[in-house]
Symmetry: C2
Subunit: 182 residues, 2 copies
DNA sequence: GGGCACATGTAAGCTGTTACATGATTAA
DNA sequence: TTAATCATGTAACAGCTTACATGTGCCC
């Protein structure tokens, strides 16, 4: 299991103890814009973390589910993982791949791709702004706020940049096409 | 083999016939900022494309290497793949994951992460500007230019946005920390 | 003749998703 | 009572990288 998965799980449990199922929901709903874990990752990883003494499993009595809680050792491990240098896997961007070879399609389909991206980014931007408002008003997690907001701010900056880029590129492709037609 | 790999290979060969080795070099050096393929992908994919009649293999006589060339059917397939909707794999951003759980580290290590990202983006930006100049002066690929430039422009926009975000976030974390110290 | 770049290919292994199996609890 | 949600887990598979094996041609 990759250490990133351990990091995400320990991070999640550092905020609140919860079941494996809830953990996955939290990862999807809260940090889903820049992270994801599937059940196939989470349960084996939880086993490993329990085996290492980083997480404690509190068996639910009959009816209730198990709750996983981070231990003191787990918090130490979390800090360790947070400091570990990033191993960046090669980026793959299917939209850019398509645009790069766009001459095989002509400008119109490419403009369509760009407009789809612009619209998606516009929607994202609205979402991020709503999340920002929510975090800024969250009294319960005052200490976390500034850190959480950096990730929201990242989303906002990237969405804004995407919108500007898409607009500009749509113009460029349209004008290049007119120039050819003359 | 994923269709994206087929797309990248057909795209590459649509510009110029070349060996599998050269193809990998081209993918790494030319579209490496947003795409990657390893030998373990390229050679089996080339076999598949040859079997499907999308690519022709011209055996090199003794000493020289094989040259792979796209066929008319291959160009059709390329256009088909370019129009195919994107299947986006979930994004994973290790830096954001670390920043999100940054409260466990405190502001200083987070500022360091941000400054690393800022510096990397600054370097990238310079690179993209050099590539832009190169493409704008390339008489041989006039038709491709506008499409290629959209991908360079993407890099520029993202790098600029990253720099702005990192600066702003470093300030925010520093100020939040001072506010706490009062 | 020794090292390096070019060239083709394969096998092992890692990461991660999807789909399935199974069952409890809750709400309609 | 039946459907949905919560919950845990596994097996199969897809995608991709790394490392290795193997060989050629070129340059110092």
């Amino acid at each position: 299991m990759s250490s990133s998965t351990h990091l995400a799980i320990l991070g999640g449990l550092s905020v609140e103890s919860m079941s494996g199922y809830a953990l996955r929901e939290a990862i999807r709903d809260v940090i889903g814009h820049f992270w994801s874990e599937s059940f196939g990752q989470i349960y084996p990883a939880l086993d490993e973390l329990v085996a290492g003494g980083f997480v404690e499993r509190q068996e639910g009595s009959r009816s209730t589910a198990s709750t996983f809680a981070i231990t003191a050792l787990g918090r130490e491990r979390l800090r360790e993982l947070l400091r570990e240098p990033l191993v960046s896997r090669p980026a793959r961007n299917g939209s850019l791949l398509r645009l790069y070879f766009g001459v095989n399609l002509g400008p119109d389909p490419c403009v369509e791709i760009l407009d789809d991206l612009r619209r998606a980014a516009t929607k994202q931007l609205q979402l991020y702004r709503a999340i920002r408002t929510e975090i800024e008003g969250d009294e319960e997690h005052r200490a976390d706020g500034p850190y959480w907001l950096t990730t929201v701010s990242y989303g906002e900056h990237m969405a804004e940049a995407t919108i500007a880029w898409a607009r500009q590129s749509m113009d460029a492709l349209t004008i290049a096409d007119q120039g050819k037609a003359e």
